[in-house]
């Protein structure tokens, strides 16, 4: 398989004809992509728990961490 003009057009047509919202929905519901909710420097976190765990190790309190999460 090569990225011929025909194949490029076919890929372009698919993405031109689907809305971003619909693509997002099928990605998550049909193909189990997971949404990245928070990002910290070079790391990404899918849930608040993923975000809190690494930060909590170096923070004084979970309250402080949750405030940080909500501000992100």
């Amino acid at each position: 398989m090569k990225l011929t003009n025909e194949l490029k057009n076919r890929i372009d047509t698919y993405f031109d004809n689907i809305s971003a919202e619909e693509l997002f929905e099928i990605s998550v519901k049909k193909y189990n992509f997971s949404e990245i909710m928070f990002e910290l420097q070079n790391e990404s976190f899918k849930t608040v728990v993923d975000f809190v765990r690494p930060v909590a190790r170096t923070s004084d309190s979970y309250r402080e961490v949750f405030d940080l999460a909500l501000a992100a």
């Binding site: 993405f15 971003a20 997002f24 990245i36």
Partner: protein
């Protein structure tokens, strides 16, 4: 142009007998390297693909939770796979990677337009591309690092690929032959 590939598939002897009488069953799930399909070791990084299939069948027999073998006998199947060049995504080549990268760029641009970011890997995007008919994929080939018994026991986590595998999305169409070429016992 039709491309012909020889592949080896390692499994339990019981499953191999079922495959011989019927057909291969697809491996499905988010963790599949190249998306849903029947997986084969094929020539690429290594040439002795029957040996890789045997190692895979042995490591798959071990249930790490119960610390027991799920089967005591393994079998290696050899198959010939045929596919038209335009339906074969070869991710061991620059041409193949270019297709995947174009797909990723288009996907990211679209999702970014609504301020979203999604976490995914190649197999998931390939499933979407194939099932939504974005690109006509029947077979995908790629180089991977797979942990066999030695790698698991010694917790060896190299970043260097150690085998070439391919997935066949529609076995009834693309697998033209299958035969058991080796049967063996697994010892703990």
């Amino acid at each position: 142009m039709v491309i012909s590939i020889e592949g080896h598939h390692g499994t339990s002897f019981a499953s191999a007998k079922l495959i011989q009488g019927d057909d291969y069953k697809l491996s499905k799930g988010d963790d599949e390297w190249l998306g849903d399909g029947v997986y084969f070791f094929v020539e690429g990084i290594k040439s002795n693909t029957a040996d890789l299939a045997e190692k895979w069948a042995i490591v798959q027999a071990w249930n790490n939770k119960s610390k027991t073998l799920q089967y005591q006998q393994f079998a290696i199947l050899k198959s010939v796979i045929e596919v038209e060049e335009e339906n074969f995504l070869d991710l061991t080549t620059e041409n193949g990677v270019e297709v995947l990268e174009y797909l990723v760029d288009k996907y990211i641009d679209k999702i970014k337009s609504i301020g979203k970011k999604l976490d995914f890997h190649d197999g998931m995007l390939l499933n979407l591309a194939r099932r939504e008919n974005v690109i006509p994929i029947e077979i995908v080939k790629g180089n991977f690092y797979i942990k066999f018994t030695k790698e698991r026991i010694h917790r060896i986590n190299l970043r260097t690929n150690n085998c070439t595998i391919c997935t066949v999305c529609n076995p009834e169409k693309n697998i033209v032959s299958k035969e058991i070429i080796n049967i063996g016992d697994i010892a703990i």
